[in-house]
Symmetry: C2
Subunit: 546 residues, 2 copies
């Protein structure tokens, strides 16, 4: 497998199910759809979408050296005219195993999956050389997805840490991960990640190309870049960020910005364009690039190299000029049968967020939008997971298909394991809030289950149904550590003597007993029935726990 690190450097990944749940598989024809099955204390169970791969399966043997099972090797697809990509198959009316897998995962029809992919409104990033992948779909008619960035840099982190970050991020719900390594061992790190990743892996090939020219962007060439793309394509990278929209004439539009060009890829290409006084090789060789990506069915993630890096720079001419070019490139990529998504900002105040989505949809034929936040204010370093979750929820509600997470370390340092988890959970919140707001079928089921558990004082179920059972339980235990508190009909907020939830439950019990749930009956019969309640009232409010 070409992994030079010894296995004992990466044998520390987290395994075992999340508390309160077990790995379960739903059989659909020859496919096994993974779910996290939460077994409730009332005897029922609740299944949730599961990105964590075999690592949370107590029955799976994890061998990082061998990598995950090559699930998709057995999934045959017909030969068709043109490239062997999900887009090409979809256009010819073919429903692939990947599409069926996704349909079962999302609880939608396989035909919807096919139609959205065919229209270019959804993508399935799945390199033929990443057979370990459990396919996922990115498109506005499906569940909003989140990406977690990992990767080492020149000053920090090892291969072992990066593999564990991938396992850890997908454990908590990352739908894809991007390996943004810039330091040593880029190839080996990526190999370990790909062979062990159950989710699509994205990269920004220009980062590795830059390492090959010792960090001097002006020395980059098409040949060096192309070879890097092929190297990564062979390894199995599922989607690649390409900043081909940074045109020469757009660069000076950033000169008066408060924060200039903040995208690494964007600034690399800007430096190259200015130094060579010509359009970048990404732009001039774009069709050749399409041909390479088509061979592997790698999805383009057209990068926003001129995205705003501050509230002041949001929605400016530089940003939208590039977006128009990305629209042109989208058409070209699709004409080659290559799937495309479009990257978006960045830092944007709330009232300017929706315009980004409308414009992206208009200019880029509704290709899936994939945004970084956006951060709704600049003034809270150390809390940019929150500043950006606000923007992320709003932009996802407006139609963004995938959200790139932001961790508390954004702008300050590299995220550690805890930061990765906080970033992922925060973005699961933003994505789910948007799923609710878009009335995605069944999205509210989990809210309802958790709220019912809360109302019925089923504390263990409340923890198990939450995005982060460990932390929910830990917080509860800080005030009420004793085991009986997990079944107590009160909590530390009000204490045992008075509890609004308890009183409310009593009201409901009474009302239901009296047939008070019908509004007309209420209006008519209020007097008599309330009197009955008064008679029954004395015992209702007695302390229920001494």
């Amino acid at each position: 497998m070409g992994k030079q690190a010894t296995s004992d450097t990466v044998d520390t990944v987290t395994t075992g199910p999340i508390e309160g749940s077990v790995k379960h598989y739903i059989e659909v024809d020859e496919l096994r759809i993974p779910v996290r099955r939460i077994n409730l204390t009332n005897g029922e169970h609740f299944d949730v979408y599961d990105t964590s791969g075999p690592y949370t399966d107590d029955n799976a043997a994890i061998d990082l050296e061998a990598g995950l099972a090559k699930l998709r090797d057995a999934w045959t697809k017909p030969d068709v005219e043109g490239p062997r990509t999900q887009l090409a198959w979809a256009r010819q009316g073919i429903i692939t195993p990947e599409m069926r897998f996704i349909a079962a995962r999302e609880g939608v029809s396989a035909e919807l999956v096919r139609a959205e992919v065919a229209a270019g409104r959804a993508v399935i990033p799945a390199n033929h050389n990443h057979p370990e992948l459990e396919p996922t779909i990115i498109g506005k008619k499906f569940l909003v997805k989140i990406n977690a960035n990992i990767g080492n840099s020149a000053v920090s982190s090892s291969i072992a840490e990066e593999v564990e970050k991938m396992v850890w991020a997908t454990r908590w719900g990352a739908d894809t991960i991007m390996d943004l390594s810039t330091g040593k061992n880029i190839h080996e790190t990526r190999e370990w990640i790909l062979r062990n990743s159950p989710v699509p892996v994205g990269t920004v090939p220009i980062y590795q190309a830059l390492e090959k020219v010792n960090g001097d962007p002006t020395q980059l060439t098409w040949e060096i870049y192309r070879d890097t793309v092929i190297e990564q394509a062979e390894q199995g990278v599922d989607y690649m960020t390409v900043h081909a929209g940074v045109l020469l004439r757009y660069i000076p539009l950033t000169a008066k910005r408060v924060t200039g060009i903040v995208s690494r890829g964007g600034s690399i290409m800007a430096a190259w364009c200015l130094a060579h006084h010509q359009e970048s090789f990404l732009y001039t060789h774009f069709e050749e690039l399409c041909e390479i990506l088509a061979r592997y069915d790698i999805t383009f993630s057209l990068g926003d190299g001129l995205r705003p890096g501050s509230i002041a720079d949001a929605n400016d001419e530089a940003q939208f000029a590039e977006l128009r070019t990305l629209g042109e490139l989208t058409k070209i990529a699709k004409s080659h049968g290559v799937q495309v998504m479009i990257e978006g900002p960045g830092h944007v105040p709330m009232h300017k967020i929706v315009e980004n989505v409308r414009l992206e949809e208009e200019l880029c034929e509704e290709a899936p939008f994939y945004t970084l936040g956006p951060l709704a204010t600049d003034i809270a370093p150390a809390y940019d997971h929150i500043t950006s979750a606000i923007g992320a929820a709003i932009i996802a509600q407006a139609g963004t298909a995938m959200l790139c997470y932001v961790t508390p370390k954004e702008h300050l340092g590299l995220p550690n394991r805890d930061d990765v988890k906080v970033g992922v959970i925060t973005y699961k919140i933003a994505a789910h809030a948007a799923d609710l707001a878009k009335a995605h079928p069944h999205a509210q089921d989990r809210d309802n289950e958790l709220s019912k558990a809360r109302f019925e004082f089923r504390w263990r179920d409340q923890f198990a149904l939450s995005l982060d059972p460990d932390t929910a339980r830990e917080y509860h235990d800080e005030t009420m550590p004793a085991e009986p508190a997990k079944t107590a009909h009160f909590c530390s907020m009000c204490g045992p003597k008075f509890c609004s939830m308890r009183i409310s439950a009593d009201v409901r019990e009474y009302a239901e007993r009296q047939g008070l749930t019908d509004v007309e009956a209420i209006e008519a019969g209020m007097a008599e029935k309330s009197a009955e309640f008064a008679d029954a009232g004395a015992k209702v409010y007695l302390p229920i726990v001494s």
Copy 2:
């Protein structure tokens, strides 16, 4: 002062300025307006709104036993017909010292303050018996405010902890605090808080009244409640939550809800109404209550006793029926010269948030809206500061004037000191994001200053300008602890060899040197100028730190 706790139980409050800043006062006539002055490393300074009172003033002597200086005792107001309330003065065209203080704090005209208060679109909660107060305004034309709840319960926390929580919450930016104590020493706790609080203090008097009847809501009477209100009014409580809109006929509307009645006040009143089969004493004695509040200039916070406690229950008939009644009560209170704000939800999915504001404004004559979040999903206990910050930012953008914070412990336990800080900072983010989205004058200045500092690698300034300098610095130091890193022109994300911010700064420097900031010049002169850049390029990208 009636404080029975010994002073050594409450001598541990946090004092001293926030890192990177000093307390400063701007003299406006006889008034001294407090600001947090951030001294920047480039010799400039930046002043920010400051809620922290004398505790962050190195020159102030703090004596908790004596309480804060009685600032407002010297602020005389004319006698007018009717009650001595800010509303009555405003209606008669009188600009009070409180209004001038607020105008200077907000950077707006005193006439705007007066006009908004006169119209009932803004309130100044300021009990005559709380002279220690530095006045603040709550209204949609002003900066969005945030409230932090503190208070002990039957199972947890002491007076000392509560006073420190007040000091701590206002240090980080809480504009008001609510003392929601339900356990022992309610009166004493409140006295200590009021005498030492520089911000308005709110309460829910029914909580203390309930203690007086040993926790049995059916035993509550108007007389017990009235006496409790007067007791708290005499102490100086600035605003009071009153759940007078919970009418008998609305209660059964909650019976089919997923989470019934979740407001403590709401469930207390519901229990009383059902047991007595009559409208609550809050409703039937509302005019008498208005007369009491008018005497002290206490502001009503009309409570939403039937607010939704889950996504499933949002915007239902029970909630909006109560809101209509709050609209009627608003008119009555204002006819008595009493200031009014309206409390709002709760748990609401994003697409149903704006309707809450529109309806509140329509039914309640645009009285300031004061909401709890709302939480945009139910599935993330332990992260409800985040689920609710999403809702809070959106509802504030739509016109909500004050946001009640939610801490990570919501639904799980009582917040500790760290939780209070995280809740406050999170809500400052939501409030500020809304200020930006509403294009509040000068709101973006701080974003611009911080972004400029970021772009210029002034790390210390970036920390100092942030909402939480301590945590920003701590996170930076985790990866780059050495002192030189604070002035280094790179960060741990990319390492010293390559940095997009650095390249971007070089692009700008070049463009400005060449006069490239004018777009027409760019289009015309691109060729020649880019060639010049190429000549200069070689040295631009050398490592700047070895």
